[in-house]
Structure formats: C-alpha cells, structure tokens
C-alpha cells in the first residue's frame, strides 16, 4: 500500500490555490487539531455522486441531473448508446420488461434514466426515435448532453473501470443498473442482464424497503 505520511495527506487533501488575504495557515500543521464538518448523508452522496449536470431528454427538454432528476426521487440509472451492438440491446430490452413489471409505478414514483455514452451521435432526436422504436413508456428518460459533462457524470456515478485502457473501450461499457431511493440515501446495483423479474424485485426492495422498516 501507499505510504501515507501526514505530509502527503496534507498535500493530497486539497489543491485549491488561494490568493493571500484569507485566513492564513500555520506553518506546521502537525500540532493543530483538525476540524471536521458534519455532512448529512444525502448531502454527502450529492457531493460524491450527483453533479447538477445540464442534460437534455429525448423529448428535447432540459433537465438538471441532481435538481430535476435525482433529488427526492426513486430512480433507476444505466448507460447506453443507440448504435451499440453489444449488451445495450439485451439490457434495454430487459429494462422494457422491467418497466412493464413495474407498471403503474414507473412515471408515478419511480423514474428510469438511460444516459448515452455517445452524446455526439445520440442527439435528442436519435434518442427519441430509439425510445419510440422500443415502445418505452412514460417515466423513462433517455438523456444526452455535452460530451465533457456526460463523461464527468459517468465517473461520478461510478460507471468507470480503474484501468484507463479498459475504460476507453465503449463497447465494453459497464452494463450494471444503479437504483435507489435518494431520500433515504439508499443505493444498490445489479447486472442489467439479470432476470427482469429479479431486477424489478430488487428495485422495489430498495425503493420501498424504507417504508417497511419500523421507525425508531
């Protein structure tokens, strides 16, 4: 493992250059008591995973990722692209089945988001045709945006391989589904190719689980 000295930790914890005039730091941090912040769980996860990326839906509407799509919601998220010959087809077909199993819930209190990995190709129009071809129901949005923003969002959501070579190959993209209940900071994931009825069971267990738990 890495040798982590006090010095390298201090170097690593932040990179913000600050012009003179702000509260000055002591020369030696060694003896200084650190102060930590109390960050509520939902806020922690927002910081870590949910940027407020500007996205466009397959219906051509603008949406902010955190504010409009995640905050206070029960959601299912995956990544895909339209001209994909690998697992996008079985995963999307699987999600169509999941949406049918969850009928009455998707669009009412559960929302599904498929984010494109190729925003250059997948314009809102292309995504709209795709959605119509697959007969996706309401409550399921296909999302595109600026390539740099989408890339940053993908990393924040953890759909990233540690090995940059592996990560650069879009056809090998991570086929997992991420789902959760933002109000309860509760998240899980499962393979997009798992059985549709099990995916639906897992989603319901995440989003409804908190209400089946006795309040203490």
């Amino acid at each position: 493992m890495m040798a982590i000295t006090r010095r390298s930790w201090l170097a690593a914890v932040g990179l913000t250059p600050v012009a003179g005039g702000l509260a000055s730091a002591t020369e030696s941090a060694k003896d200084q008591q650190r102060t930590f912040q109390n960050i509520p769980p939902r806020e922690l996860l927002r910081l870590r995973h949910f940027p407020n990326t500007e996205l466009v839906t397959h219906q051509g509407k603008k949406a902010r990722f955190y504010e409009n799509l995640i905050k206070g919601r029960k959601v299912v998220i995956n990544f895909m692209y339209v001209k994909c010959e690998g697992i996008c087809v079985p995963v999307t077909a699987n999600l169509v089945r999941v949406q049918k199993i969850l009928k009455g819930r998707v669009g009412r209190d559960i929302f599904m988001y498929s984010i494109t990995l190729k925003p250059d190709e997948d314009t809102p129009e292309v995504l709209n045709q795709y959605a119509r071809r697959l007969h996706v129901g309401p409550g399921w949005l296909f999302l595109t945006g600026k390539p740099g923003d989408i890339e940053a969002l993908r990393r924040k959501l953890g759909f990233v391989y540690a090995d940059p070579v592996e990560d650069a190959d879009k056809s090998n993209h991570i086929g997992m589904l991420r789902f959760g209940n933002e109000m309860f900071a509760r998240w899980a994931a499962c393979p997009g190719q798992a059985h549709a009825d099990w995916i639906a069971t897992s989603i319901l267990s995440e989003v409804d689980g908190p209400t089946r738990t006795a309040a203490k």
């Binding site: 600050v18 008591q33 109390n38 090995d163 059985h195 897992s202």
Partner: protein, 642 residues
C-alpha cells in the same frame, strides 16, 4: 499561497506536482494507449496493473469532503490504544423478557400490529413472508439448551482510536442482549459467542437499527446474520435472501453437532469435522459490504472435548480467553472532510482501506507475557487480502517463524511452521506465537503483526511483498513483558496431532464446473447472474461431489465461499495444495481464486436440506451479483455446468 481545503499551506512545488499528476493521468486516458504501449512506457506491469505511482493514482484528483478513497484518510497515530478483548456474549434464561415468546420449531409469524409485519423475520424470503417455511430441522432431536440475545443497534459514540484528531464514530453493531444502550451499547466487533459442540443453542437477534438516511450515507437496516461456516439448515444459516426488518427478531438455532450426525456418524457427527473459529456477519443481498463495514460482525468460537479452551486438557491449546485471542482485521477509509469512516456504495471493484483496525481499534498494541498464545486471525473484509508476518521493528531483517494450526476455523492435522500466512476476505488462520522463544532467539521486546501484501484497489493484491518494518503496515504491536511464565500449552514443535482429515478417496457422484467471469463490468458464474428466485442446481443429500472452480476474470482475485459444508482442496492448477510457504491444506470454507486459478474441491453434503449460496467474499463483488444459489434435496440433479 497554496492552501488545501483545511487551510493548511501546501508548497507550490507540491501543488504543481499534484497538478501534473492529474494531467498525466488525463493524458493517458485521452490518448487511449493500448496495453503494449503502456507497458513500453513503463506504466503497466506484466500483471496488467498500472504502475502505482502518485502520478497515476486516483487520489491525485484531490481528497475533498465526501471523497472516500485510498490515500485520503487523515493521519492517525499507531499503537496508542490497547487491543480490545471483546466481551463474551452472556447466556440468558428463557425467563428473560426478550424470550417472552420462546423459540419455536416454526417461526412466530404472528403480525406485530406496531409494525404490520410478523414478530419474527424467519420464514420471509426477499422480505416477503412464505407461510409454513423455514421451520428448524432437527429441533426436536436436539432441543436447544443454551439461549442468547443480541440486539443490532446504532452506536453514535464508538471510538476507533483515542487520537484526539479522530472523533467518535457512528457504527451499527451487535450488543450483549440488554435493552439499555448506556450500559450495553452496540459494539464492533460484536460480542464473541462461545459455544460447545453437543450443546444445542439459539441466538435471538433483534433488528433495532434506525430507519431514515443512514449516517455516512451507507448501511441498510435490513439484515440476515450468517454464521460462517457452521453446519446448519438455511433457516438458521443467515443467507442473502432471508433478511428481516427493523422491529423484527429472528431466532438462529444451531444443533451444535458435527457433520454426518444423521448419516454416517450417528448420533452426533464426525469429530474430525469439528470447527473452532467461526464468525457471524450480515449477509443482506446487495448490501452485505456496507453493513458489515458499518460493524455488523463478530466472532463465534466453538469448543469440544479436544479443543477445550483449557490448556490443561484435550489438545492442550492455550487457554481461552486469557491466552487465546481472536483478532478481527478490518481496513477502513476515513472521509477527510467529515473525519468519519466512509464507504463508497457506488464502487464496483471493491474497497481497500488505509486504516487498519484490529478488534475495532486503529493499530492497537497488546502486552503479552513470555509464553505461547493462540491468535485467531480473521480477514473481515470488505476486499483486502492480507499476508501477515511477524516483524521485529528493532531489527526488521529477522525472519521470525510461528506456527499455523488452523485454516478457516479447522484445526490442521498437526501444526505447520511458517513465516507468513495469507488470507482473503472471510478466511481465518489460527496461529501459535511463542513470545518466550522469540524474545530469547531474536532479542525482540516488541513485535508487529505486519501485513506486507501490497494491494492498491479492490480487484486484487499486486502480489508484491513489501519490505518489513513499515509502520503503516503494522496491524498490532505486541509488547513482550516480564520474565518467562508458566506455560501449560503444548509446544507445537513437538508435533502434536489434532483431528485426522476425512478421506477424499470416495468417488464423487458428480463433478460440477463453475467459471467465474466478468463481462461488461458484470459478474457472472457460468454466464448467469445472481437471482434470489433461481436455484441453479440440486445436490443429493448424503452424497459426495467434486466442484471445479475457475477464475476466468482476468486481473482479479476472488475469495470464493461455499456455505454449509467444508471442502478439502484436491488440487490448485493441477498440483496438490501446498503446505509451504503458504498453507492451503486442511478443511476450508473459502478458496482463494488467485489470477487464473483453477481449484478442485471435494465435498460431502450431509444432514440438512434446502438452499445455500456460493459467492465471492469480496463483499463488494458479492453485492454486485457474484453469487448463485444451490440446494440439497433427497434426489440430486446431473447438471455439470449449472
């Protein structure tokens, strides 16, 4: 002036270095260099790993609040806390208010009006009641004689170090069964459960975890407590799909008989199948990693007429609890912004920490006398592999031997002298360390139990053995005190014999093959994905099987755990399991599938019916579906690639 987020000054040189590191990393990603080019540039090792230098490591992107990454935890001072010896869970009488409704063969599925759920969670599957299921097998034949209670609760005032810079932590843990959180708080590791073979027992677990968004953003208040790896039916095994809710309780009943009691070794089982070091931990499907990491785990030890806990009797192993010490290893990350233990619920690869906790404290010390001790070392996960050595910090070049006496809680036929032991998640190793002899031979006054296996991410260790004597790799500092004292325990050098390994010569009824694969970031076993609703194959009760497990997942390693029965390794990559330098012989319940490993396992399946899992015990892989369910029934199937 260059400041970090806490207002500490950082030199301009260091700051530029960090910026360059980020730039380098981005360029490599942008350039999409292939493996050969990376290798030529010296950035990729032959094992397929990016060279670990700061210029490429993820943490070069910064360690702000909310970041939960290797290398970002704030510094702490080692060896300032004594090793915690966990309390032994007290026995309770059936008159205890917690047993107002006593344990019964079939679950107490009466609806509790306060929560609109059954009082007892047993009988639920995927959180849904299946009436009439999960009655205890053999309950009337072996009625319970000992009763225990544990309550799963939150503790907001748990100290992992007395370092003033790190405040109290919020954990979830087990308590000792009492109702007053002030006198009986939840602790990590949980209380040590101590039982004896042939004394059937019940532990009633109350789930009293808080609902609402959990502190730190991880933990799910639905639990299933697995007793790893006792010989019990699924109704008491605590498998992944049998979780229960906050407000419910769950009775876990164990016959405390050895395997074979209803078949070839009546009436109480084959003593050679005795287990000694077990642990209990949460197993809630999709959430095991975060729940165990939050504290829902503890030791469960079993004694019998040979492994007695008294060095004057039986095998004469060091007496419990004074000289027989469980060591629960757990590596953690601390959020540099909050100072709280953090967990990344969005990671797929696995989580390795940079703070080594032993029995719930960061790098504790332990004062030992000059005599032999038995340590039961457990890798509590979530993802790290350890290879531990004894290091004399005052002379790190010394190679200091010790004795390994058990693998995964099963005593070896006889002690084996080693200089290190490797364990993956959930594996246990029992060792005998003779501090009198080490003090005399090596002049050591202190010793580190030191993890020297390099691991930089959740995928696998690199395989590099790090140089001895690096303080950040120390797990515990043993401080050898006083003069040699009386020692009634057996000297492992005299070659004492423990249990005889059951024979592996019977012909298996069937040989089954399992490929552990990864495609598009999804784990698969024989091309299929985990599903609580699908049981993949059926083993015939009271039969012998051979399973061949193959790691086909490239640059990954997996500690694979099979519930219910211990196995013996017949071969690893075509060779007999070695006993040197690393011991892989004996009975085990976890097999380490290292890079490209194929392992052949010999099993006897006896006594109990119904479903159990096999899964990767890197709990992050497990939570992402690296698992399958199988079952035991009177008639088995012939599925060779289930």
């Amino acid at each position: 002036m260059y400041l970090n987020i806490f207002g500490y000054k950082v030199s301009r040189r260091r700051w530029k270095e960090m910026l360059n590191a980020q730039k380098n990393r981005r360029e490599i990603i942008a350039a999409r260099l292939d493996r050969r080019e990376l290798f030529k540039l010296g950035l990729l090792t032959s094992g397929g790993y990016l060279v670990a230098k700061s210029g490429l490591s993820a943490w070069a992107d910064g360690c702000g609040p909310g970041v939960c990454q290797l290398g970002c935890s704030p510094p702490t001072t080692p060896f300032i806390d004594p090793l915690t010896i966990n309390p032994i869970l007290p026995e309770r009488q059936l008159t205890d208010p917690g047993f107002a409704t006593p344990p019964s063969v079939c679950p107490n599925n009466t609806i509790n009006p306060a929560i609109q759920l059954p009082f007892e969670g047993r009988g639920q599957f995927n959180g849904v009641l299946r009436p009439g299921t999960d009655c205890f097998q053999f309950f009337n034949q072996f009625p319970p004689q000992k009763f225990f209670i544990e309550r799963m609760r939150q503790n907001t005032n748990f100290r992992i170090t007395s370092d003033p810079n790190i405040g109290p932590q919020t954990i979830w843990g087990f308590n000792q069964g009492g109702t007053d959180p002030n006198t009986d708080p939840a602790i990590f590791p949980g209380p040590t459960i101590v039982t004896r073979y042939q004394t059937p027992m019940v532990v009633r677990r109350f789930n009293e975890l808080p609902s609402g968004a959990p502190a730190g953003g991880f933990g799910v208040p639905e639990t299933s407590t697995h007793l790893h790896n006792f010989h019990s039916g699924p109704e008491s095994d605590g498998g992944p799909c049998r979780w229960f809710f906050s407000g419910q309780y769950f009775d876990y009943y164990h016959t405390m008989q050895q395997a074979g009691f209803s078949f070839d070794f009546p009436p109480t089982g084959d003593v050679n199948e005795s287990l000694s070091t077990l642990w209990y931990h949460d197993h809630r499907v999709d959430h095991t990693a975060e729940n165990v990491y939050k504290g829902l785990a503890g030791f469960h030890l079993i004694f019998n007429q040979f492994d007695t806990g008294n060095e004057a009797t039986g095998f004469h192993l060091p007496s419990f609890p004074q000289f027989d010490i469980p060591l629960f290893l757990a590596d953690k990350l601390i959020d540099p912004g909050t100072g709280q233990i953090c967990f990344d619920t969005f990671g797929f690869d696995g989580l390795v920490g940079d703070k080594f906790l032993v029995n719930g404290k960061i790098q504790p010390f332990f004062e030992v006398q000059k005599r032999r001790y038995r340590f039961r070392v457990l890798d509590g996960g979530p993802s790290r592999f350890y290879q531990f050595f004894l290091t004399n910090p005052d002379n790190p070049s010394q190679s200091i031997p010790f004795w390994q006496i058990a693998n995964d809680g099963n005593l070896l036929p006889t002690p084996i002298q080693v200089t290190s032991a490797r364990i993956g998640v959930a594996e246990r190793v029992d060792v005998i360390i003779d501090f009198a002899q080490i003090a005399q031979t090596f002049g050591a006054t202190r010793l580190w139990l030191e993890n020297r296996l390099e691991q930089l991410n959740g995928r696998a260790p690199t395989g590099n053995i790090l140089p001895a004597g690096q303080i950040q790799n120390a797990l515990v500092e043993f401080r050898i005190t006083g003069n040699p004292v009386a020692d009634g325990s057996v000297d492992p050098a005299t070659g004492p014999r423990f249990y005889t390994l059951p024979s592996t010569t019977p012909t298996p009824r069937i040989t089954r093959h399992f490929k552990f694969e990864r495609s598009n970031g999804q784990w698969a076993i024989n091309g299929q994905f985990m599903d609580c609703n699908t049981i993949r194959f059926t083993v015939q009760k009271n039969s012998v099987e051979k399973w061949v497990l193959e790691n086909s997942s490239g640059g990954w390693q997996h500690p694979i755990h099979i519930h219910f029965e211990e196995f013996q390794l017949l071969s690893i990559n075509g060779q007999p399991p070695p006993s040197s330098p690393l011991v892989q012989t004996g009975r085990k319940d976890v097999v380490r599938l290292e890079f490209g490993t194929t392992a052949e396992l010999f099993f006897r399946f006896r006594d109990f019916r119904n479903d159990f899992p096999m899964h990767c015990h890197n709990t992050v892989h497990e939570d992402h579906a690296m698992m399958l369910l199988w079952q035991v029934q009177d008639v088995g199937d012939n599925n060779v690639e289930p």
